[in-house]
């Protein structure tokens, strides 16, 4: 891809029917109240992202050629958010979808919408863009009314053509483009379009980025080529704390094509003319360095114990509620302990960046989730002023959170600087990615519940031990870029801190969505653990939902209740009940049905972050008792994400979440010995393969009158409990430690 170029587009559109049939499952429409609008975040106020970037021309540009350029602060990570945002812009402007050109984030002019994370592109980014577009439309109508000499109220817009019943003439957006004053701030007195008039939002528009990706187009940062570009590779220490004790780069420098060998502290890299020459130089450089390692990691086999026994925990009460006078007496107490290991992002394409210096501006093309935040840390690490750094988003492989994307951007900048600012493209090797990416934190959970005589839960005590899920770049108090820690003058990482609820970090979804008369949720935050961690899809929700939903199942079984009925009994929110009922209907749930020793089914539920998408899952599994292998045959899902912008996009995200969640649940744990990470490739970190993937059936509960809710991660956390509950249903045994590999399955069955 050339700098600044846009992904190729097609003019083809597909009917909704084609997509409705293609996507597994169905869409049900619910209407709760009229008049609610797209993602309205605060009645009467502007959406936060628009409030932070009020100038309309930072969001939109109307061109005389007949198209609309949209500048969003959200980046395409392979989730299709740019297509959904284009739908929203086209909808509010009343133009054909094909006229919208989505521009990648560029810190020289795009709105700063912080990270693209937390399933917030539509909920936050969409509402901001929708308001900006509605504002622009109102300005255009004002101009048109003056031009045509008719009242604004008489105007209608059809694909950018403004006409009035009271005037013979018409005027188009494109004719007004040059005189449209978008260099003004958004106002909050502009109404959004009524959802009943939507033509584009709510339909499955084919993704803008897919055709180029399927035909070898220039779609990724990996595909960028600029004149004079060199190829860089890095050599990392073998372990987090390894010291460089000897280094001789004579042999590396003598290799063909090598332009530069870089050593700054324990940061090592090579720059070469050809990519295979950079690879060969990296291999020789690895042998040229002698490292001293030390025992610095915990015992992998006793990790849960290590977390619980930590003496450095910061203990906080996340939520507490005391019993009321009418709370029934407890007659029984149950306890369960659960564990989630470190999990890797494990992107298929190792992280990559291109950096070059021109006119004293360092430009970095990166698949970061936060171009503005990356720029902050690049400035700290390089000593350049913010204004002398430009970060432009270019797509990469799916990241699912904070992987090596930001780190490799600094690598590229350091290597480019070593060759006088010549453009250098750096891609990590597979073992760089596995060995150094920040993992999703390990977690230990303990639940204790008290039951009344009627079986209902009267008290819920929950303790959680985990590390940070937020060590992204751009935070105060340090630099969160790998190479910066290895320089001769090293920077420190920021002090780990917890993300406030309702979003939460390790404690995301630690507070159950169920209504218990008494509860206490306690977090033991462990900021001094030695393994590098940060944001991974759904953060702590994966471990917490595993514990909460497994234990709900255990309690239901203890009191002889059906797991569906037992959950409904403890919920107040009708939307929550609706998704549970919908999934039970769709899966033909039979209350009280027992598994046969090998086959079983289980249910789980989550309202993501307690304020986003509702999901309920039913897992159907088969257990091979001899081999110790669980096969998930089918997952049935029901989801309520409020107003659905693009049904096929949501289905794709839910399918992806379920498959990724099944992979985490059955297979994934980052392995390490006392010195170093030992999961370094796909053999030592296996993920779910094609023959192992479950069939998936999805019911979407559309709520056209309610705000869109973040949906990109919601279906992932309920996966492991659905499988573990199905395992219990099949075998009568509980799985409480992730992942459910052969050893654990066999141990549970003996």
């Amino acid at each position: 891809m050339r700098p600044g170029s846009n992904a190729r587009r097609t003019g083809r559109t597909y009917s909704r029917r084609q997509f409705g049939q293609a996507a597994a499952g169905i869409v049900l429409f619910f209407s709760m109240r009229p008049g609610a609008i797209l993602g309205q975040s605060a009645p009467g106020g502007l959406p936060a992202d628009l409030k932070a970037n009020r100038r309309l021309d930072s969001w939109l540009r109307i061109n005389a050629e007949g198209n609309i350029e949209v500048f969003t602060g959200k980046v395409e990570l392979g989730q299709g958010n740019l297509t959904a945002l284009a739908q929203i812009a086209a909808e509010e402007l009343d133009v054909a979808f094909e006229r919208v050109r989505m521009r990648p984030v560029d810190t020289s002019h795009s709105p700063d919408e912080s990270y693209t994370a937390g399933s917030a592109s539509i909920q936050a980014g969409g509402s901001a863009l929708g308001y900006a577009a509605a504002n622009a439309r109102a300005i255009l109508l004002e101009l048109a009314a003056a031009k045509l000499g008719v009242p604004i109220g008489s105007l209608t817009v059809d694909d950018g053509v403004i006409s009035s019943s009271g005037a013979a003439n018409r005027v188009t957006y494109w004719q007004l483009a040059s005189e449209t004053p978008l260099a003004r701030n958004a106002g909050n007195d502009v109404p959004l379009k009524s959802t009943s008039k939507y033509r584009i939002v709510g339909t499955s528009v084919p993704r803008l980025d897919i055709p180029a990706k399927l035909t070898g187009g220039e779609a990724y940062v990996q595909d960028m080529r600029v004149p004079g570009m060199l190829f860089g590779r890095v050599v990392r220490p073998p372990s987090y704390g390894a010291r460089l004790s000897a280094f001789d780069d004579t042999a590396v420098k003598a290799l063909p094509g090598v332009v530069s060998v870089v050593r700054d502290g324990r940061f090592l890299g090579v720059v070469a003319r050809r990519e295979e020459q950079a690879l060969a130089a990296r291999a020789v450089l690895q042998r040229a360095a002698t490292w001293t390692t030390r025992s610095e990691l915990p015992d992998d086999a006793r990790l849960a114990h290590f977390l619980r026994a930590s003496t450095d925990a910061r203990v906080t009460t996340v939520s507490s509620r005391s019993p009321g006078p009418n709370t029934p007496q407890a007659v029984k107490t149950l306890t369960g302990n659960y564990f989630k290991p470190y999990v890797a992002h494990a992107s298929i394409g190792p992280s990559c960046a291109l950096a070059a210096v021109s006119d004293r501006i360092l430009t970095v093309w990166s698949h970061t989730q936060g171009p503005y935040q990356l720029r902050i840390d690049l400035a700290k690490a390089t000593g350049l002023a913010l204004d002398n750094i430009r970060v432009i988003h270019a797509q990469g492989s799916g990241c699912y959170g904070h992987n090596g994307a930001d780190d490799v951007a600094l690598d590229a900048a350091l290597l480019s600087r070593a060759v006088d600012g010549a453009p250098v493209k750096v891609q990590w090797m597979r073992d760089d990615e596995f060995g150094w990416e920040p993992f999703g934190s390990a977690m230990a959970m303990t639940v204790q519940a008290k039951l009344a005589g009627d079986g209902s839960i009267v008290d819920w005590q929950y303790d959680l031990w985990s590390d940070s899920f937020n060590m992204r770049p751009g935070l105060p108090g340090g630099v969160n870029l790998l190479a910066a820690w290895h320089l001769a003058q090293p920077f420190q990482a920021t002090p780990p801190s917890e993300i406030p609820l309702p979003s939460g970090g390790a404690d995301r979804n630690a507070v159950p969505y169920y209504d218990f008369p008494s509860q206490r949720i306690t977090e033991h935050f462990l900021p001094t653990l030695p393994i590098r961690v940060s944001a991974l899809r759904s953060l702590g929700a994966f471990g917490n939902a595993f514990a909460v939903e497994s234990f709900m199942d255990e309690l239901a079984e203890t009191v002889g209740a059906d797991p569906v009925e037992y959950r409904l009994r403890h919920l107040r929110d009708d939307r929550a009940k609706a998704v549970i009922r919908a999934v039970a209907d769709r899966a033909h749930w039979q209350p009280g049905a027992k598994g046969d020793g090998t086959r079983g089914r289980g249910i789980s539920f989550l309202r993501y972050e307690s304020v986003k998408t509702y999901v309920a899952l039913v897992a159907d599994i088969v257990v091979d008792r001899t081999a110790g292998v669980i096969r998930v045959e089918r997952m049935t899902a029901a989801a309520d994400a409020g107003l659905i912008v693009t049904p096929d996009g949501i289905s794709n995200q839910i399918e992806g979440s379920i498959i990724q969640g099944t992979s985490w649940a059955l297979k994934e744990a980052v392995r390490f010995d006392r010195e170093r990470i030992t999961s370094r490739d796909w053999a030592s970190y296996p993920i779910l393969s094609f023959p192992e993937v479950p069939e998936i059936d999805i019911v979407l509960l559309n709520r056209p009158d309610l705000p869109s809710l973040g949906a990109g991660e919601a279906a992932l956390p309920p996966v492991p409990a659905a499988i573990a509950n199905a395992f219990f249903n099949a075998t009568g045994k509980r799985l409480r430690d992730l992942p459910f590999g052969r050893d654990r399955v066999k141990a549970a069955l003996t």
């Binding site: 055709p211 180029a212 035909t215 295979e276 992107s347 992806g656 796909w682």
Partner: protein, 156 residues
């Protein structure tokens, strides 16, 4: 030592000067400017780099340039374009069978080799043929459906 090799890629003969043990992947991407084959692992574990050499789906990240010889090489670009997609590409677009799309080159090229030797595979045979191709986004089911549809000629 660099040598000059003549290789046929997507129906066109190219002259390439590089070490004979250079993985074909880098020649395709950097000398010929092709984007289809992707670097994923360099260990023939994930399949992102797949191209067809002769009649076989090959992991180009470990396949040396010198081993290509006179065998024709076909990459994703050799199948079709945005304007005129190959039936497999068309089927993948119709199913929206991609999230990030980084692995998809390997899926389509492996499927092409499969359909060339077995034009009507069962769903199980498709899953087996892709057993060594990794997808992280979880697009597996759409990929399988797209290949089924392409095999059936059921793409609009």
């Amino acid at each position: 030592m660099p040598e000059t090799f003549r290789i046929q890629v997507n129906g066109v003969e190219h002259s390439v000067t590089a070490d004979g043990d250079t993985p074909l992947l880098y020649v395709l991407r950097n000398d010929l400017g092709l984007n289809g084959p992707k670097f994923g692992c360099g260990l023939e574990q994930c399949g992102a780099c797949t191209a067809i050499v002769g009649a076989e789906a090959i992991r180009t990240c470990v396949f040396p340039l010198s081993a290509v010889g006179s065998a024709p090489v076909v990459t994703l670009e050799g199948l079709g374009t945005v304007e005129e997609p190959h039936p497999l590409q068309k089927a993948f677009i119709a199913e929206q069978a991609a999230q990030c799309g980084y692995c998809i080159n390997g899926m389509i090229m492996t499927a092409k080799a499969l359909l060339d030797r077995n034009p009507r595979p069962t769903r199980t045979e498709i899953r087996q043929a892709l057993a060594r191709n990794l997808c992280r986004c979880g697009t597996h089911l759409r990929i399988v459906r797209a290949i089924e549809n392409a095999a059936k000629g059921a793409v609009p």
